[in-house]
């Protein structure tokens, strides 16, 4: 009997995956456990093993194509078996309700139950978004596509209220303009989102469009000297998350220069010990991570998240470490950092960074972070402000350790300084709350022995 291969779910938030490559060709023998293909999600890429032995049947999804989880992508046939013995894609797509959790009581007619012979029709039905009749009418009246609307009803059903909300958002997103301007914009195919209206309350007028038309003639020449690049999926996701974070979470920043004298000495003293114990070179990131875990355990409001009107206080300190990789920024998480020794923190950090740079992080390595540490100390950056990593309520940005002349007891003294900037989500953290936390962190950096108090 043929075994169906479907797009696997690689973590709770995964909705679809992209086939990167097939390691086997159609008709090639496959052993269970062999790498069959490679996929990429919004967070990671992963190698998928064959779950059965046999011969790879028809490949249903080509590399570069994204499909939702659960979508059949190929079959493994028994030797000698033909493709006809297995289900076709269309039929498989027409029966999603069998694998999806059923609702009790009322069950709308399952697609595919009506016309199993008419596979094309069944497949088409499956892609129809779930929407109430009222929502369908409302969308029809407003000329909106249901596909573009997020449903909030049971099982994600689109309700009329969802359509109304989408219509309002669309209205708000649409610039106001005079009828002449609207006609000109359509004729000249001008992107209105880039035009600032000069009329009352931003009303776009004829003169604005004339100006824009002249300008676009200028940028047309520029396009010869530039290039449009489609970013990776990971970058697209990050772009969305960062823009959303920056526009929805009210950010504020607390900045301080900490004296790094003790921190430098501490690292020097512990380097050989950690090396012999954990086999890794102790970094300032490790020390900061260790101190952060201690400080976060004492300040639960900073180890928190805004959760749609409520505040989630996290019991564990799951510390995300921003890592620069070839594929871009990625934030693996040291889970339960508050329970780890310094050597263990260093070991975990080193392991995660290595896995991240190899592009082999799993979904669990990236999930459930409660606070993020972003250290640009390796560059000539004294201090910087980070954007919150949603839904976390705070992130610490760390600059390089550099010498500064500072007054100590009336004398100008040269001391190593480390610039810290704590970004807070004001919905969760107040200025004083964040300040108390930062104060404690600085104390740990400057006087680490207070840990024993």
């Amino acid at each position: 009997m043929a075994v169906e291969i479907v797009m696997p779910r690689m973590g709770l938030t995964m909705e679809e995956g992209t086939i990167l490559s097939w390691h086997k060709r159609e008709g090639e023998p496959v052993q269970a456990g062999e790498i069959l293909l490679e996929i990429e999600t919004d967070k990671v890429s992963a190698e998928i093993e064959a779950k059965a032995s046999g011969v790879l049947g028809k490949i249903l999804v080509e590399p570069g194509v994204s499909v939702p989880i659960g979508t059949p992508i190929a079959t493994i046939l028994e030797p000698g078996e033909t493709q006809a013995a297995t289900v076709t894609v269309e039929e498989a797509a027409a029966q999603p309700s069998q694998s999806s959790p059923g609702r009790s009581g009322f069950q709308p007619a399952a697609p595919g139950a009506t016309a199993p012979g008419n596979s094309k029709d069944g497949g088409a039905k499956d892609t129809r978004p779930k929407a109430s009749p009222a929502a369908r009418r409302a969308a029809r009246e407003r000329n909106l596509e249901l596909k573009s609307i997020q449903g909030h009803g049971p099982g994600g059903r689109i309700l009329e209220s969802d359509v109304k909300r989408a219509a309002q958002e669309k209205r708000q997103a649409q610039p106001r303009m005079t009828p002449v301007a609207a006609r000109m914009a359509a004729e000249m195919e001008i992107d209105l989102s880039k035009i600032q209206g000069s009329g009352p309350r931003g009303l776009i007028q004829k003169s604005d469009l004339s100006a824009a038309a002249q300008e676009s003639a200028g940028t047309a020449a520029l396009s010869d000297q530039s290039e449009l690049v489609t970013p990776s999926r990971a970058r697209q996701i990050m772009a969305e998350r960062m823009a959303q974070s920056f526009s929805s979470a009210p950010h504020f920043y607390l900045m301080v220069d900490a004296n790094a004298n003790t921190l430098v000495e501490l690292r020097q003293a512990l380097l050989p010990k950690v090396e012999s114990k954990a086999g890794v070179r102790l970094t300032y990131t490790d020390l900061l991570a260790f101190f952060l875990a201690a400080a976060l355990r004492e300040h639960e409001m900073v180890n928190a998240a805004w959760a749609g009107g409520q505040i989630r206080l996290n019991r564990a300190v799951n510390l995300g470490i921003a890592v620069d990789t070839e594929g871009g920024l990625i934030v693996p998480v040291i889970h339960g950092a508050e329970r780890l020794s310094l050597s263990e923190v260093a070991q975990r950090r080193a392991g995660l960074v290595e896995t991240a740079r190899a592009g082999k992080l799993g979904p669990d390595d990236l999930a459930a972070g409660t606070f993020t540490l972003s250290n640009l100390g390796g560059f000539r950056v004294d201090t910087f402000n980070a954007v919150l990593n949603p839904p976390q309520a705070a992130i610490l940005a760390v600059g390089r350790i550099h010498e500064k002349v500072i007054p100590v007891a009336g004398q100008a003294v040269i001391q190593p300084i480390i610039g810290l900037s704590l970004t807070c989500d004001h919905r969760v953290i107040d200025g004083a709350t964040g300040a108390r936390f930062l104060d404690r962190l600085v104390e740990l950096i400057e006087e680490p022995y207070t840990m024993f108090a």
């Binding site: 009322f106 709308p108 109430s132 009749p133 009222a134 929502a135 369908r136 009418r137 449903g151 909030h152 009803g153 049971p154 059903r157 309700l159 009329e160 209220s161 969802d162």
Partner: protein
């Protein structure tokens, strides 16, 4: 015994209102007589026919043996020959014995005689569970009769409606099935004006206006629906409660217009859930308001089991305020999220 209310209108029980309708109509029309078990000298086990025997004599308050098919058949014959009998089926469950007379005779005669015969008969029968009367005395079988052309089916919920609708039944030249929930006779009180009035069949009553969800309820369930609506209002949910009052003829338009407004419907009846009255009402709404429905229509009816004798088990089989509230919330899931 009557009570004056604040508005100056007196209050009657459900049974008193029905009794008053019978007395007034029997006074007005001497073709009318009541017939059934203990309806005469005893005044009926639920006291609806009280005083008729004394006032109008034994010829117009006829006591019968326990013989539902016999006395119903007698009444159909009497109706065809010029009288207007009011048959009382003490426990509606035993209407099964009179089905032949009602379904094949009373409902058909006008049609099958080409209009030469008419059957002005009113059959009063009880429905309703909740008094621990056991499986053969607790059913609500009104939906059966709404299935048969030629019968009108009345399911009043308040004393006011009961009186006005019974008077209309007693002036109708066709068979009318009049269902009374036995738990309402003494317990449900309401304003009934002393002035003469009747209520036309086929006109639903909006018992409580609202905008968020439509609760369609029949007979005693109207009161459960109103209590549920009151609680829902505390949570900011404005439920509209509609009482169709008659199943045949059915005021489909009022149901449809209400759901076009609220987009959600919960239908509640004491009768059995499967293939019950709620199914026809839901289908009516589905057809008439399809483009306005925002959630699956919820139906509440009696569980598909013989009604248990044990009070806790019995109550679990019938819809109540809590079940209505839960159903309303199911229809509202995700709205405004």
């Amino acid at each position: 015994m009557t009570v004056e209310t604040k508005t100056g209108v007196r209050e009657l029980t459900f049974a008193q209102a029905l009794r008053e309708a019978l007395h007034e109509e029997m006074q007005r029309d001497d073709r009318i007589f009541v017939i059934g078990e203990d309806v005469g000298a005893w005044g009926g086990v639920f006291r609806v026919t009280e005083g008729i025997y004394d006032k109008f004599g034994p010829e117009r308050a006829v006591d019968t043996p326990i013989s539902e098919e016999g006395f119903t058949g007698l009444a159909v014959g009497a109706a065809m020959t010029g009288l207007h009998p009011v048959v009382e089926i003490m426990f509606g469950d035993f209407i099964t014995l009179a089905m032949e007379q009602i379904v094949n005779q009373a409902a058909k005669m006008r049609y099958m005689s080409g209009g030469q015969a008419e059957v002005p008969i009113t059959v009063r029968a009880t429905i309703g569970a909740g008094r621990s009367s056991g499986g053969q005395h607790s059913q609500s079988l009104h939906a059966w009769f709404a299935h048969i052309p030629g019968l009108k089916v009345v399911v009043p919920a308040t004393p006011y409606d009961a009186k006005g609708l019974l008077k209309t039944a007693l002036r109708d030249q066709n068979p009318v099935m009049f269902f009374e929930d036995k738990l309402m006779y003494a317990k449900v009180k309401g304003e009934v004006p002393e002035q003469e009035y009747t209520i036309p069949f086929g006109k639903a009553d909006i018992k409580r206006p609202g905008k968020d969800v439509t609760i369609v309820a029949l007979s005693r369930m109207v009161h459960a629906a109103l209590a549920a609506a009151e609680k829902l209002a505390e949570e900011g949910i404005q439920a509209e409660v509609i009482d169709p009052r008659t199943l045949t003829p059915l005021d489909r338009d009022t149901l449809i217009q209400s759901v076009i407004k609220t987009q959600r419907a919960v239908i509640v009846d004491m009768g059995y859930h499967d293939f019950g009255a709620t199914a026809e009402l839901a289908a009516t709404i589905m057809n008439g308001a399809f483009d306005y429905i925002d959630a699956p229509i919820e139906r509440l009816g009696a569980t598909q089991v013989p009604i248990p004798f044990s009070p806790p088990l019995e109550m679990s089989t019938i819809p109540d305020e809590e079940k209505i509230i839960a159903a309303v919330k199911r229809t509202l899931a995700g709205r405004g999220a």
